[in-house]
Amino acid sequence: MKRLFALLLAALLAACTTIAKVEGDQVVNDKLVVKVPAAWNKVTDPWEHEPYDLWTQEGIPLDHLRLWAGVQSGQPLVAKPTVLFRAPGEKDPRYPTFVSGLPPDKLVSLFEALYANEGEVKITRVDPTIFAGEKGVRFELTLARRADDLVLNGVGWAAEHNHELYAATFAAPRLTFFSKLLPMAEAVVKTAHIKG
């Protein structure tokens, strides 16, 4: 019985989150190419098919670099959770959803709503930029995370190409980690270009 339990546990763990080292040339969703000068850790959860790549240096509770590539109009920026039970008359919540043709200010609002789900978010800077070779927007934010009362700083880049969204966000604790890791995130983001 113990052996069976151990086997089941091993099988379960094997099916859980995996972490793989990424460096060199990487392609996100077969559409966005980035060069990774210093290795990152790519986190994959087989149970959740998020529409972005999730990378980290120190572990997801601390820092994350998310990369979206080729999000189509009408698609949300996050995977909608499976709802097993719904009360009568209850509707699904809204999820931040990309729509082709959104102006830069509304792109920022999408990511603001995305992070607002985690805690109190405040956009602290918004500027026009070039991201992945396209005219886009760069924004900075602070997030007071509800789960652990940790204050994070964040930065994001977003642009539209051929009616699809390309974006990246990086966030890490304001103390120590953000300033230490931001150059590594920027080193990746500045190499981003759309494939083809």
């Binding site: 509707k91 919540p93 809204r94 931040p96 102006p103 830069p104 200010d105 509304k106 920022v108 609002s109 603001e112 709503a113 607002a116 789900n117 109190e120 978010v121 405040k122 956009i123 602290t124 800077r125 918004v126 500027d127 026009p128 927007v137 900075e140």
Partner: protein, 134 residues
Amino acid sequence: MPVPVGEAEFQRVIAPLRFGWIQDEIKRGQYEESLVLFDRLLARKPADPEVLYARGEVYRLRGDKDDLPRALDDLSRAAGAQKPPAETFRSLGLVQRQLGNAQAAAEAFDRYLALDPHAPDAGLLRSYLSDLKS
């Protein structure tokens, strides 16, 4: 409608925090729920500039059919009230820009940046202004 005992004192105490709470409500992105809340608040105080701004901003962000004229109406009323939030003029400018009213959009952005020259999105709005005035 009779004024509940203690309401004035309650409003005085929460006044420094209230607009932040309203902004947090907008940021949730649950537009239909927010509209119910703001409709209720406006039913009690129809000319409240903070809530008029908030409802107009939710309409602007949702952007469904007929939302832009609703946003323009609420934001114009908020802008005409006493002491509207500076963000009213930002949102008003964005609506006017979306409607193709370049001069009205530029005026609203100018007003916003005059009220809050160091606004977080000043860089983006100055680029919009540059396009509108060119």
